[in-house]
């Protein structure tokens, strides 16, 4: 019996490897990034047995995975929760086409927004798309569920959604491994017309999807993960979803929970399992790591007068992640009390690394915009968002990937001058390119500054598909070559960089300034690996 010490993310990755996937597709995003990184570092990933290069964004990742599945092979796509918004079109329509080889989409949710712009609950996407959802409670389950999810996916010809919250994604525990299944053979779908979603076909396919969605709730691959345990005290019944059950049980020594408990970790589930609780208890506490999905269904619009406690009545805070103490206080258990934090303890906001090129770039931007009396520039998501903080305080927005470019266009339409966007290299190739095409098509007077640190920095330095291609992408999209400028953000180039930026602000059409300088963290890692490569070669 082999027991590996794995993060929740890594458990999913190892599960995917052992379940015989042929392709892994992802765009980085906390807390999902380690799934792809683990596969890339695995023997199967390194040898190329599993295709595992980063995709340009989550939509391309899901579509590529669907293409792999079309050919009969198992594939997985992974992303952070907001990535599923980007991939939503592909995800929802792949439920209608159905799959051929097993397909799992992993969405890593970030309740409490540890490193995200919202805390949306991906389980709703499952319901919206009529796709089954697995929500593992622990690392072992994260591993095991992958096998069932692939089988389920192939049996019903449906993509399957797996949802993992930050706390499980980034927590390590022992996982018992199974023997590896060989990868599936190349086999095209018997009926390839179902992938053509013309209305006549789509209508038929949607009916099939609706039928399957009803049927699969009784499939053992889902039902076995929803467990009921009776308890002597029927004054309260508890429904706990996903990892919430861990926080609940933490409050009872030796697993002696007095109340009847339904622990749910797959969706959709049949109404019958709810009856185990509602048949016994008048009052029900619902614990969910995320939005009140089950709670809302339970309450319904016609409230039948049963007492239901949860996020919607304030028993549990309406937002933010759960923990053992929140659950304790919902149950009226006195939480443990530690010492208070002395007032002298200060927070440590994240900041640019020492020597980061973004800092020099923003110094130039701050000076370049000064004469215009504008508040700042539109920006996007990445390390460069830190310019929202002093001493720069020069960005006005960070909404969703790519929004800087398009918001700048809209603001220019409204009369803002100069209208400027600052976007990272990876964010630009993720979602900024179509916006730039909009600017070109209408000759919008905007300046797009691409903060090119040659990597996807914020998420830990993954390869960026933009590297070495920005110049040709921008001119290819149609920006006049003389208005695609390249600068090196260094202090000694400050005057020149300010001048170049101002020249482009003054140009009454779309212009791009590419500020290229390697991320210092990525540079340090590169030098280190080059050194160890060299050492290895010398030894040989």
């Amino acid at each position: 019996m082999q027991r590996l010490l794995l993060l929740g993310d890594e458990a999913i990755a190892q599960g995917a490897i052992d379940a015989g996937i042929s392709g892994m597709y992802a765009y980085p995003g906390t807390p999902s990034t380690e799934i792809m990184e683990y596969i890339q570092a695995s023997p199967e990933g390194k040898s190329g047995r599993i295709e595992c290069r980063w995709s340009s964004n989550e939509k391309t990742a899901v579509e590529t995975a669907l293409g792999m599945s079309y050919c009969g092979k198992r594939a997985m796509a992974a992303m952070k929760h907001v990535g599923l918004n980007v991939a939503a079109d592909a995800f929802i329509n792949s439920a209608i086409t159905g799959v051929n080889g097993g397909l799992i989409i992993v969405a890593a949710d970030d309740p409490s927004m540890h490193s995200s712009q919202n805390e949306q609950d991906s389980r709703f996407y499952g319901k919206f798309a009529h796709v089954p959802v697995y929500e593992p409670r622990n690392q072992q389950e994260a591993y095991d569920m992958v096998f069932d999810a692939f089988e389920l996916s192939e049996k019903y010809s449906l993509p399957v959604l797996m949802r993992i919250p930050t706390r499980l994604a980034h927590s390590r525990s022992g996982v018992v491994k199974r023997r590896q299944i060989p990868e599936k053979k190349f086999r095209l779908p018997d009926d390839s017309r179902r992938f053509i979603l013309m209305p006549a076909i789509a209508r038929k396919r949607f009916k099939i999807l609706l039928e399957n969605y009803e049927k699969l709730q009784f499939d053992n691959r889902l039902t076995k993960y929803n467990t009921f345990k009776d308890g002597p005290d029927r004054s309260l019944g508890i429904i706990a979803c996903g990892i919430a059950v861990n926080y609940l049980m933490e409050n009872f020594s030796d697993d002696e929970l007095p109340y009847p408990l339904l622990s749910v970790s797959t969706y959709p589930f049949s109404k019958d399992i709810i009856k185990d609780i509602t048949g016994r208890c008048r009052e029900i506490l619902v614990l969910e790591e995320g939005y009140p999905l089950v709670e809302e269904q339970l309450r319904g619009i016609l409230d039948e007068g049963r007492r239901i406690y949860g996020r919607m009545d304030g028993t549990i805070p309406r937002d933010g992640e759960l923990n053992p103490d929140i659950v304790a206080s919902a149950l009226g258990i006195k939480a443990g009390k530690g010492h208070t934090v002395p007032e002298i303890v200060k927070s440590r906001p994240p900041s640019f690394c020492k020597g980061c090129g973004h800092a020099d770039m923003f110094n130039a931007i701050v000076e370049a915009i000064k004469p215009y009396g504008i508040q700042g520039v539109f920006s996007d998501i990445g390390c460069y968002t830190l310019a929202a903080l002093p001493p720069y305080s020069c960005i006005n927005s960070c909404v969703d990937m790519g929004a800087s470019v398009t918001m700048a266009i809209g603001a220019a339409d409204a009369g803002l001058f100069p209208s400027i966007a600052v976007i990272g290299d990876s964010t630009f190739t993720h979602s900024g390119m179509p916006g730039l095409l909009d600017a070109v098509a209408k000759n919008s007077p905007v300046t797009i500054i691409i903060a090119d640190n040659l990597t996807t920095g914020m998420t830990g330095g993954q390869e960026s598909n933009a590297t070495g291609r920005l110049q040709s992408i921008c001119t290819g999209i149609g920006v006049a070559p003389e208005h695609v400028r390249t600068i090196v953000p260094l202090r000694r180039n400050h005057e020149e960089n300010v001048r170049i930026m101002r020249e482009e602000f003054e140009y009454r059409g779309p212009s791009v300034v590419i500020a290229t300088r390697e991320c210092i963290q990525a540079g340090a890692r590169r030098r280190k690996s080059e050194k160890s490569e060299k050492q290895k070669n010398n030894e040989e």
Binding site: R3, L5, L7, T30, P31, T33, E34, H114, S115, R167, L168, H170, S171, R172, S173, G174, I243, V245, N246, Y247, L248, M249, E250, N251, N323, P324, D325, A328, A335, G336, K337, G338, H339, T340, V341, P342, I344, V345, K346, S347, R348, P349, P350, S351, F352, C353, C383, L386, M458, T459, G460
Partner: protein, 192 residues
């Protein structure tokens, strides 16, 4: 046997190597373990924390409840204080005395030390100097681990074996430096 340990510091100070060493030792002893880590945003000069739980029975929560942690291990003094709400009555603090100053309003160090000493069971170690004496200031985290080692219910030899395994890829010299750092830390805890 059950130990709940908070490991704190600033991104890049090596708290994950501390956690990994304890984790490895616990797994070798066939104990159950859960260890939550901080990834992402907080790596950029922000504070980082790991909740490490080891037990001879299955563990439920990945997070430690308030007021129940047996031990806070911190590679930075102000970070030791940040996690006081988790410390159990009678729990231990083992911390480095050397501040990591990357903010302009960092409090006076003697104020911090005074507050740490208010906790009855605290050990404050100049881990940077000791590590430097052992051969590399980078081993400061292993000095702290050594000083915390009597309080985590894992036999010394298991921890040392885990440490050797952890650093073995980096060569014999690195193993020696870190082992020496670990033992120096342990000695300090023993005379307290």
């Amino acid at each position: 046997m059950k130990k709940d340990i908070i490991i704190a510091g600033v991104g890049g100070q090596g708290i994950l190597s501390i956690a990994a060493t304890i984790g490895l030792a616990a797994v070798e002893k066939n104990m159950f373990l859960k260890q939550s880590e901080v990834h992402g945003m907080s790596q950029r000069g922000g504070d980082v924390v790991s909740h490490l739980r080891i037990s001879d029975k299955p563990i439920h929560s990945d997070l430690i409840p308030y007021g129940t942690s047996d031990l806070i291990i911190s590679v930075e003094p102000m970070e030791a204080l940040r996690h006081l709400p988790w410390l159990a009555p009678g729990g231990w603090i083992v911390t480095n005395s050397n501040p990591y100053v990357n903010i302009s309003d960092y409090p006076p160090v003697d104020e911090i030390i005074k507050n740490i000493k208010k906790v009855k069971n605290s050990i404050i170690v100049d881990a940077d100097s000791i590590a430097a004496d052992c051969g590399s200031i980078k081993a400061a985290n292993m000095v702290i681990l050594g000083a915390a080692s009597p309080f985590m219910g894992i036999p010394l030899e298991n921890l040392e074996d885990a440490l050797k395994k952890m650093f073995s890829k980096k060569g014999e010299q690195i193993v020696e430096i870190n082992l020496k750092a670990f033992r120096s830390g342990r000695k300090i805890a023993e005379v307290q």
